[in-house]
């Protein structure tokens, strides 16, 4: 684990452990490769359903989830593959789910938008924009009432900020000082609609002050910056000084869902963000370390590729649910 001196806001690369950094690399890369495979499978027509992918946003998921303990929880959205992988779900249980298999993390009943695994600290993804925000406050309330030291990290997009659920959830977390880290992945778009069309003040972290707690905007494509901001925020939450709102500036490198060509985004904007890729940036950072060489990264990459392609092979053959599974799992 890192030994970052508290108070400092600039990632001090030298303070990090080599293995820790390579693990981060493996995670961020795993998400990218997973998403690439999923996109391929989807376009190929072998994978059913619809998908909302997170190419380009990998650093937010990994940075935040790395700051959490295993028994901490996250809530996620329709765009949850990255969050799930970062919180420890396996490519295998997720791909099985995407193929609608009985062996998926939700037995094929959830699909892309509802993946979760309670054991691993992730409730099923909530596909209703902002719908997970009050849930996160409630989860944190449970932790507080039971006096555990767990925290919740609640992922949502910039589009969610306009929803009443955002307002109500943040306010309740604030008045009860709940241990919840609100993570807004601001990728500038809610579906096809740009952020400046739906709010006048687009600095989302400023909203926290209205509710009476701390907000912070972070470069969401800088993995270590995200990690450090999340670690500070998680610390505050655990110490009873929550909630915290983190706004992570990022961009999606792919369509909103399915086959979306993103014609609503300008060329210039896309170009600028494409040259600001979180993985490329992290690679550059890593390579400045004397104890990390390209070959180390290649080794990680090979492992990741293997893990993903293995999962794909398994998923293609994974058993489909039986028809009478339809009637199971409605009630506890």
């Amino acid at each position: 684990m890192s030994a970052q001196s508290p108070g400092s806001r600039e990632p001090q690369l030298a303070n990090y452990d080599r293995d820790f950094l390579l693990k981060l690399y493996a995670q961020i890369l795993l998400i990218r490769r997973f998403e690439e495979q999923v996109k391929f499978l989807f376009l190929e027509g072998t994978m059913p359903g619809t998908i909302h992918q997170c190419h380009g946003q990998e650093a937010t998921a990994v940075g935040v989830c790395t700051a959490l303990n295993k028994d901490d929880f996250i809530t996620s959205t329709f765009r949850g593959h990255g969050h799930a992988l970062a919180k420890g779900l396996t490519p295998r249980e997720m791909l099985d789910e995407l193929f609608g298999a009985a062996t998926g993390c939700c037995k094929g009943k959830g699909g892309s938008m509802h993946m979760g695994n309670m054991e691993k600290g992730m409730i099923p993804g909530i596909a209703i924009v902002a719908g997970g925000i009050p849930l996160a406050a409630g989860m944190a309330l449970a932790f507080k009432m039971r006096k555990t030291s767990q925290v919740v990290a609640c992922f949502f997009g910039d589009g969610a900020v306009a929803e009443g659920a955002f307002h109500e959830g943040l306010n309740m977390a604030a008045i009860w000082n709940l241990p919840v880290l609100f993570v807004c992945e601001n990728n500038l778009y809610g579906a096809s609609t740009r952020i400046d069309k739906v709010m006048k003040n687009i600095k989302i972290s400023d909203r926290a002050a209205g509710y009476g707690f701390r907000g912070e905007t972070v470069d969401g494509n800088d993995l270590l910056a995200v990690y450090e901001a999340a670690r500070r925020a998680v610390g505050e939450c655990r110490a009873g000084h929550g909630p915290v709102l983190l706004e992570l500036l990022t961009y999606r490198r792919t369509g909103h869902s399915r086959r979306d060509a993103c014609h609503y985004q300008s060329r210039d904007e896309r170009d600028a963000w494409f040259s600001n890729d979180p993985i490329e940036r992290f690679v550059q950072t890593l390579l400045t370390r004397s104890d990390i060489a390209q070959i180390d990264l290649d080794r990680v990459e090979a492992q990741v590729d293997h893990e993903v392609s293995d999962a794909v092979q398994q998923a293609r053959r994974a058993p489909q649910p039986a028809t009478n599974d339809l009637l199971r799992d409605v009630y506890a």
Binding site: C106, G110, I123, P134, G138, A165, E168, V330
Partner: protein, 337 residues
Amino acid sequence: MKRQGIAESLRDAIAEEMERDSTVFCIGEDIAVPGGWGGAFTVTLGLEDRFPDRMINTPIAELGFFGVAIGAALMGMRPIVDVQYGDFLFLASDQIVNNAAKMRYMSGGDCKVPLVVRVPVGATGRGSQHAQNMERYFIGVPGLKAVAVSNAYDAKGILKSAVRDDNPVMIFEHKLLYGSKGARAESGAVDATSDIPEEEFTVPLDKAVIRREGSDVTILSWLLMAHFSMFAAKTLAGDSIHAEVIDVRSLSPIDYETIGPSVQKTGHVVIVEEGPKTGGVSAEIAAGLLERFGEYLQAPILRVASPDVPVPFSPVLENAYRPDSRRIAEAVRGLLS
């Protein structure tokens, strides 16, 4: 034994469950204010003294605090949510239907949502936004259970069962049946008190109950209409018409095991519902009975309900809106003649 109204017996039930299980807590608006009212109908009066950390008094934010309750339930707590007036459920229905009801299924059984929602319903002189009978909107939501309580005994026993159930349970209560006293008393209220045993008891969530036996016609109803149906049955008895009155109680699932034999016996069914006739719970019961016991029916099933209009304010109109024992008795006479 003690004689209690619904508000009191619910209060005792909540307190006993909170005593028994430290994961039980209450959440809602104005439920825990010192010097306050114990919610809109006194149900939680004084509980903030006994359970200072487990009476969560919320902002006015229904979508939010239902979400909070569901989130807490996912993490192993057992929230009891108070919505003040049923009509406000529309604000929270996304959290109830899209999350509470579906999460277990969509997780493939990985999580559970032990949630209790207390919903005061009924037209009571407050105009159309504080008056709706909300049952109809929730019986067709798989993943939820729905019950309606019409006396203090059931209220206590059902609340306890609901708290102990691992699924989301909606409990419908009627404003005219609480028996709240003092400033919170309702004009037009009906006596729904019961003798409450000292010893612990529960009432199952999935059972109807025969309130009066009879051989000529089966009257099915719940909440306030269960009382009006009993009044009607008494009147009808004067004309030698013997009505069997069943308090349906469990609205989802419907207890056809109890209702079926009555229908087989009488061959005549009247379902009484407060709320617009179209699209109500009665429709489901009628369709469900027809499918299961159609061959025993000696006449079409009759629904006695409110007309298809919003709830009017004027007492003259509100009384015409709400079915009463006279209308019920007339309907029975019409059916049997």
